[in-house]
């Protein structure tokens, strides 16, 4: 394969790949919400919240915590094996997860917790 052709091909694929990655990233990036604005309309959506941990407990491999922001608080559930660093009370966190209904309440099934 002529080298000049390979150079052009690799450049085109790199640029195209980066553009596609950018658009995919924008599309799958979850929207950030204030806790009190979450409602039934957001069920099963991937969402992001920021807040402070009020309390944390670990039960049978699950971390269950309450995260509070200025507007309210919500329960966040996370599998222990997905989180190497155990969150602690009073930590500022960013939570990305699925908004779900459980019994008569709402909760977030966290996929990622970032300690800020």
């Amino acid at each position: 394969m002529a080298e000049s052709f390979l150079i052009k091909l690799s450049l085109v694929i790199s640029i195209a790949g980066l553009i596609i990655l950018f658009f995919i990233s924008e599309k799958i990036r979850p929207k950030e919400y204030q806790i009190n604005l979450l409602s039934k309309e957001n069920l099963e959506q991937l969402i992001k919240i920021k807040g402070t941990i009020n309390n944390v407990k670990e039960i049978k491999g699950l971390i269950i915590m309450t995260v509070e922001d200025k507007s309210g608080e919500i329960k966040v559930i996370l599998s222990r094996k997905n989180q190497i660093l155990k969150p602690e009370k009073d930590q500022e966190v960013e939570v990305i997860g699925k908004f779900k209904a459980y019994q008569k309440d709402f909760e977030i099934e966290a996929q990622e917790i970032k300690i800020l």
Partner: protein
């Protein structure tokens, strides 16, 4: 005593698996052990779990250069040595590449153990003065790196391009192990593709009588100092540190770079325990695991370093043995078929771990790596994929 020895051996076995298997990271094993810690603690103590994790990480540290050197398959700590290691492989000197990495790792571990009391005193002071200025240091060093090149505009463009790619990928949620397709593509697969294109043949590896040259000690010491900084500064990994350090040194050939990189890697990992002890910050996945299992006191820090020294001896022997085995096998294998097999293996690994978006990242990063190599731009600048996100993290 017997329990501790058994724990070290278990850790070494796990370290062999993670070190020689591309894509299998010690952090993954450590996080699984943490998740199972409640169950495991019924049968053993928390100290024995720590011993297993530490000895696994040290064995991994020694052995993970072997797939990088012989197979061209990197991880985030060894990505940057692929090109110099590959050059030595093509000269029949892969064992020398392993030996040089071993030298850097072994002696820097000994040096850091000697300097523990001084580092315990120095770390908090350095952290206090430097932690809020890391982005300025990184920007200055990056500019120096780019100005040293002949094709400055192209180098800057590539740095920014790879930096943008890294920024997008690292800030996109739900990508598991994003560094795997990113670094494997930039540094691994791109080299393999060009080896296939160039009909590269691996010569018979020379069974060398390798000697320790005193003048190489200089790079071990430089690596030690650079590694100390990367151990306590947030966001600065060993690969970025290696690239930035090599930009400051006037004359550094590929062999010296191998020593430098392995020295920085070792100090970065081991220094993270001192960072945890002195400023209560965990700068590595292993340090995080240790912090979750025990409260790190001076006695336990001494225990950790005893385990490190004991494992170092075992891991040195293992590295020499595996290096000889790989050395005998590599020239008997059809290299083109081996390259294709590794490409397929990495692609499958990426698809399983990082899913289809990982495949897109792999294709994009591989293309960029191929482009950079064909345009004869220094591949070190592709580390912009990690440097630029760190700089932006501190600025934004």
């Amino acid at each position: 005593m017997l329990e501790e020895l058994i724990s070290i051996l278990i850790g070494c076995i796990l370290g062999i698996m993670t070190g020689l298997t591309p894509g299998l990271h010690i952090n993954l094993i450590a996080s699984i052990m943490l998740a199972l810690s409640n169950f495991l603690l019924k049968y053993t103590s928390d100290l024995n779990l720590i011993i297993i994790i530490i000895s696994m990480s040290i064995t991994h540290l020694f052995l993970d250069t072997i797939p990088s050197i012989f197979l061209g398959v990197p991880n985030e700590d060894t990505a940057i040595i692929i090109l110099p290691a590959h050059k030595l492989l093509l000269e029949g000197k892969a064992q020398e590449a392993v030996f040089l990495s071993l030298l850097g790792t072994l002696f820097s571990i000994i040096i850091i153990c000697i300097f523990i009391p001084i580092l315990i005193f120095i770390f908090p002071i350095l952290n206090f003065f430097l932690k809020n200025h890391i982005h300025i240091i990184l920007i200055i060093l990056t500019i120096i790196l780019i100005l040293k090149e002949k094709q400055r505009f192209l180098t800057l463009t590539i740095f920014l391009f790879s930096g943008t790619m890294g920024f997008i990928i690292l800030n996109t949620p739900n990508i598991k192990e994003p560094l795997l397709p990113l670094l494997a593509g930039l540094f691994g697969l791109s080299s393999l593709i060009l080896s296939i294109k160039n009909n590269t043949k691996i010569p018979k590896q020379i069974n060398q009588n390798l000697k320790i040259e005193i003048k190489k000690i200089k790079f071990i010491l430089i690596g030690f100092i650079a590694g100390v900084f990367s151990a306590f500064l947030p966001g600065l990994g060993s690969a970025q540190t290696s690239v930035l350090t090599s930009s400051i040194i006037r004359k550094i050939d590929p062999k010296d770079f191998l020593i430098l990189n392995s020295s920085i890697n070792s100090v970065n990992l081991i220094g993270s325990f001192i960072t945890l002890f002195t400023i209560n910050k965990a700068r590595s996945g292993i340090a995080v695991a240790v912090s979750q299992l025990i409260n790190l006191t001076l006695n336990k820090l001494i225990l950790i370093f005893s385990v490190i020294l004991a494992t170092t001896f075992i891991a040195t022997v293992l590295t020499i043995c595996f290096s000889r085995i790989f050395s005998k096998l590599i020239s008997k294998i059809n290299y083109e078929r081996l390259c294709y097999s590794i490409i397929v293996l990495i692609t499958i690994l990426v698809l399983i771990i990082s899913k289809p978006i990982g495949l897109l990242i792999l294709i994009t990063s591989t293309s960029l790596g191929v482009y950079v190599q064909l345009k004869q731009v220094n591949k070190n600048h592709l580390m912009g994929c990690l440097l630029l996100p760190v700089i932006l993290y501190f600025i934004i």
